[in-house]
Assembly symmetry: C2
Homo-oligomer: 340 residues x 2
DNA sequence: CCAGCTTGTATTATCGCCCATGACTTTGAT
DNA sequence: ATCAAAGTCATGGGCGATAATACAAGCTGG
């Protein structure tokens, strides 16, 4: 802490006015004449006064801070989300308290409690699991403004997110369109996890009348490049290899691509690869990787906007609204039409 | 906000004890008998009581939160730093307020003011510039615990960081050792920016008796892959091309590598490339890229430890201490010894 | 010339919690 | 039985700010 935190009282003593007058003057109240207001403003300046936000929060019952809960930030797409949210909130006068759940449900619950205790005005949450949202629903029902960054239309919680099911559908549909019928998928296969992408994968298959082979699902058990590499290794060790692979995010896709390099397969000739999120590293990989664009700006802007709406709602929270952004498919070399 | 924030008073009313007794009981004071304490604890549980951290902060004059200021988080190495810091602080009972300066000095000053106003107990700052630290030094002199994440031994401010000068020296020295003498460098050439890496580059040259050609410095004007690509383009358009390139971070290095692919140059045969930070994408690039390891765990752990020391210092801040971590060089294919 | 209105400032209460003080009760030693 | 030493709880003040209310002056007008 600074040695001598200047308080309103210090300005009051110096100028001879009362604490209250000083407070009013600094907040541009019309009840204070220009003359006094100016003298007080000058004194504050001279003393280098900074209002104590904590005290203000206590009386106003709002902290002008929101809590941001992410699973882990190492996924480049989530990183951008974090930064964009911080900036969007900052321009609106809010600060952001930040915490990672480290993909652990108990930890997620804990940080939410911490945020509540710290009286955040609202929370933006990227939950660990899309199926275990009871604790968050309870929060909402208790009147807390919350917006999720992943969407489950019937979770009863506001959400703004890219439509992952639809994005995955587009990616896999694209692979089918260019002639593939044996398509591997690298995605976390946790029953309580995010099933949207697998749903999209399945839907595209069904629509095309292709049987879904669960053998073609490889769980990378993580999200790093190297996890993608080993998941690809498993897929390509099958008796009948897939001719194309859909990876749930670009890090995994880059790992898969890396595997093809090491094993002298050509992409897209021997195997096509498509990712998700459209991070810069995918665009500039050895073979530019097709991907599904994660609309960072749009998601964050809408999510922040919605959260502030909830916070400002005069009487109770309005009915939850889920906004799903239909993502764009970016086609690059890794899924260029097959030559044969 | 939750509809009915439970206060100590509510528990007091329910149990018949006074607010004070409740407060003491919940804080495990030995002055309250087990029996009473238990009944109060149960009532708190039943009412789902959560202490109001804001009120507590006002009384205790500490918020148990620290402010983290980063330039921008899109550099994957900084991302990891952010997450590691959050986790390290979390286990010690601190929350982290997070803000990006967006590489703008005025913005950096602004967020620091905001943090001060919010009474953070201390700050961790990755400053925009290594040369404009006056505002931060003033902070320290006013008694604020601050630890920088970049180091200038004579800035008069505590710091924990990787020794970028030394890391760059090692990288360039390595290039010289394997036979290169015309070495390009892709690094921001802002006079007020981070000069450490260029210093290391220069030192390695001088030690080897090689003249430094300032023509070989390309400013990418940013940190993305594509910026690295264009900086590389400029370097390789010179009448006499460099035979090796040192990039100030791995994103830039990956961009440079990408340029060689598009222009059919072989790495390391035609041109060697080395990066900085050792992010996962460098390891798994088309040609695995040599890099200087950014010791995320060590930097964050030491920085947090030091900051908490400063916060706990009983009488005034101790003399500033700068800890520079000597980074390890990771050699990969992109700088394998030249065949000729 | 005083009721009745502005106008400018001071007083007091409040936010939720912690701390110092001390009153009252119980226990144990003499 | 008396008194000191613990033990147990309530009271009041304060953290730094805002908000509601009160209170002096200075005007106006009938």
């Amino acid at each position: 802490m600074g040695k001598s935190p200047i308080r309103l009282k210090d300005i009051a003593d110096r100028t001879g006015f009362s604490v209250n007058t000083v407070s009013l003057a600094l907040r541009q109240s019309p009840r204070i004449p220009e003359e006094t207001s100016l003298r007080i403003r000058e004194a504050a300046e001279a003393l280098n006064y900074l209002p104590n936000h904590v005290a203000k929060s206590l009386v106003n019952r709002e902290t002008k801070t929101i809590g941001l809960v992410l699973t882990d930030i190492t996924n480049p797409a989530l990183t951008q989300v974090a930064q964009a949210i911080e900036m969007a909130l900052s321009t609106r006068g809010y600060s952001t308290l930040f915490a990672t759940s480290n993909n652990d449900l108990e930890e997620e619950k804990r940080v939410i409690e911490v945020f509540r205790s710290r009286q955040v005005d609202g929370m933006l949450i990227y939950p660990r699991s899309h199926r275990e949202l009871a604790h968050i629903r309870r929060l909402r029902q208790a009147g807390y403004p919350v917006v999720l960054l992943v969407g489950d239309p019937d979770a009863g919680i506001d959400a703004v997110c890219v439509d992952e099911r639809r994005g995955a559908y587009r990616a896999v549909r694209h692979l089918i369109d260019i002639g593939h019928s044996r398509i591997g998928i690298i995605d976390t296969s946790n029953a309580k996890g995010n099933l949207e992408k697998r749903d999209g994968y399945t839907q595209a298959h069904q629509e095309a009348g292709i049987l879904v082979d669960m053998e073609l699902l490889a769980d990378p058990l993580g999200n790093s490049v190297i996890r993608g590499y080993w998941a690809m290794d498993r897929l390509m060790s099958m008796p009948v290899r897939p001719t194309a692979v859909f990876a749930a995010n670009d890090s995994l896709a880059i790992g898969a691509l890396r595997w093809t390099q090491k094993n002298n397969l050509r992409v897209p000739k021997d195997v096509a690869i498509i990712g998700f999120d459209n991070i810069e590293f995918a665009e500039h990989a050895a073979t530019p990787i097709s991907s599904v664009k994660y609309e960072v700006e749009m998601v964050t802007e809408l999510a922040v906007e919605r959260l502030l709406q909830l916070i400002a709602a005069p009487d109770g929270l309005p009915k939850p609204r889920v906004t799903m952004i239909d993502p764009e498919l970016i086609v690059r070399d890794s899924t260029a039409g097959r030559g044969d």
